[in-house]
């Protein structure tokens, strides 16, 4: 039995790759071929769809917009989460447990519930259609998540480290930045990864909070599907390109993901 064990992950990965392959396949076809014939690989191979995306600003700006708010969100979330996670992992204070739980409940809030009020809130403060709006809004679930992940990693660092540093005459912030942060570098990596991931994949809020200037690539795709007829090849090429950043990020953090997951804090 164990001889055929490798079949399970292999078949599973094949199942995962099939739709992705299909998307890739479509992206290299002309519209005529897509609608005219059913082919397992492009007969009339074309990179036309990709050329369109890289030359048309409404397309490539979408990528810039998405990446801008994702990077903003990941840095804001992790930066504010670091001191908070430290406080939760090291100190007891009035209302700490309730606060921690309240933070986590925000991870349980359906984005659909917040779509409309967010639209009104960010319009009122004048941030509507800017990357900041999306970056801040995604903080709703990413900040609690970052606190949760970092707290897990920090609790694994013995308190003696802090005490030794103080005995050695380090001030708090110097200790925190010079000694503590490097110690939990893996945790910061994992937290950044998940912040990146959830901000990159979310669309409902990103779409609601932008119209033209900060429109994310994913939203550009939905518009194309509805207005410009059914340009499936173009859609497939755009979709394929959205997979690339994710693939990159996973590749770089592949050795840390397992560790993050081992803590069970996602």
């Amino acid at each position: 039995m164990s001889k055929y064990k490798w079949l399970v992950p292999t078949l599973y990965i094949a199942f995962l790759m099939l739709p992705i392959y299909w998307l890739l396949n479509m992206s290299f076809k002309t519209t005529n071929e897509i609608l005219g014939a059913f082919t397992l690989w492009p007969q009339d191979f074309t990179v036309e769809n990709y050329v369109t995306i890289f030359t048309d600003p409404t397309w490539y700006n979408g990528y810039f917009n998405s990446i801008t708010y994702v990077v903003l969100n990941a840095s804001i979330s992790v930066t504010v989460a670091l001191p908070a996670a430290y406080a939760f992992s090291r100190y007891r204070f009035l209302g700490d447990k309730h606060l921690f739980f309240w933070l986590l409940t925000n991870r349980m809030a359906p984005p659909a519930v917040f779509a409309l009020p967010f639209f009104q809130l960010y319009s009122a403060v004048g941030l509507f259609d800017t990357p900041f709006a999306v970056a801040l809004a995604h903080g709703l679930f990413n900040i609690p998540l970052a606190v949760w992940i970092l707290e897990g990693f920090m609790s694994g660092v013995p308190k003696e480290l802090d005490e030794t540093a103080y005995v050695d005459g380090y001030s708090f912030w110097r200790f925190f930045i010079r000694i503590f942060l490097p110690t939990i570098a893996a945790g910061i990596g994992v937290a950044l990864f998940f912040a990146f991931m959830f901000s990159w994949v979310e669309l409902l809020l990103a779409k609601t909070l932008t119209s033209v200037a900060a429109k994310p690539i994913a939203a550009t795709m939905t518009r194309t599907a509805s207005t410009a007829g059914y340009e499936l090849g173009l859609l497939a090429a755009a979709g394929t390109l959205t997979i690339v950043p994710g693939a990159f990020v996973i590749y770089f953090v592949r050795n840390y993901i397992a560790k993050g997951f081992a803590l069970g804090r996602v």
């Binding site: 599973y12 001191p83 349980m108 359906p110 917040f114 994949v201 979310e202 081992a262 996602v266």
Partner: protein, 288 residues
């Protein structure tokens, strides 16, 4: 672990987080609460309505239908993804170069924007140009998810299994890796069969990560919006209109702010309540 010291100044560390999350959570929540008890005809004129919208939502057959669909969907995908994910994790190599390959490829679906997931599956499953649609129809089964509710459900569930099983796999795999070799060796010496190894070593050690997996998959599937919306648009008819899709239809489509707000609060409370129930049940079990 040394005991934590009491230090009220720790609050200062938390202020930035609280400020940001409160801005994002409390103000919108107040808005929702505000809408949920009032009626408006535009122009910022509001009338007090009390609990009318709540009563209306709670008695509405439409809400009941969405809620029922939501529960059915969540239950089905949990019943598939959790055992399937554990099975894949169990059969993964424990070390060697293939581990990284498996992890990277398996994590890939998790990093694809949700609407792209929907669009990808739309293209993949369409009966005329999609691979899946062609194959199923080629087997003599009439399959068209844009027309048949059963096909739409099948496709949505398959898509979710495709999208999220890896999360369970990664969690379970990390849990399995944390089991020291000595446990497997002891079991070998004790003459345990593979089933006994799973039942008495692996499953108990996986309990913690599986708790997290169930909780996460419950939460996220209960809030699902983008993928089915792009795939089926909630159709055919209302057959795949889950809670979030219905809510957005009412709020942004029909602009019925009062009922939408009341529904939002009920929805949020259901998620919170169920998470709390899950959490306490599992924690109670752990304490024993």
């Amino acid at each position: 672990m040394a005991a934590k010291t009491t230090n009220q100044k720790a609050w200062f560390f938390i202020i930035p987080v609280i400020a940001l999350v409160a801005f994002n959570a409390l103000i919108p929540l107040m808005t929702v609460v505000n809408y949920s008890v009032q009626e408006t005809f535009g122009n910022n004129v509001f009338f007090w309505e009390g609990v009318k919208w709540f009563e209306q939502v709670l008695h509405s057959p439409r809400f009941h239908a969405s809620l029922l669909r939501q529960f059915a969907f969540t239950f089905i995908i949990l019943a598939i993804e959790i055992p399937f994910g554990v099975a894949v994790a169990l059969s993964m190599p424990r070390q060697g170069p293939w581990v990284s390959v498996c992890l990277v490829l398996m994590a890939l679906p998790l990093l694809i924007p949700w609407n792209v997931v929907g669009a990808m599956w739309n293209i993949f499953a369409l009966p005329d140009i999609g691979f899946l649609g062609r194959v199923i129809n080629g087997m003599g089964i009439d399959y068209n998810f844009t027309q048949q509710p059963v096909a739409a459900w099948f496709t949505t569930i398959l898509m979710d299994v495709w999208h999220w099983t890896s999360l369970v796999v990664l969690l379970a795999y990390a849990g399995l890796r944390s089991i020291p070799d000595a446990f497997y060796q002891a079991a070998k010496i004790d003459g345990a069969k593979p089933w006994a190894v799973f039942r008495y070593i692996q499953l108990p050690k996986l309990k913690r990560v599986l708790t997290i997996a169930v909780l996460l998959r419950f939460m996220d599937s209960f809030m699902i919006y983008t993928e089915p919306f792009v795939l089926t648009g909630g159709g055919p008819g209302n057959s795949t209109t889950f809670l979030s899709i219905d809510l957005v239809k009412i709020a942004l489509g029909q602009f019925d702010l009062g009922p939408a707000a009341a529904m939002s609060l009920i929805y949020f409370l259901i998620v919170l309540l169920l998470c709390w129930v899950f959490y306490t049940l599992m924690m109670k079990d752990e304490e024993q």
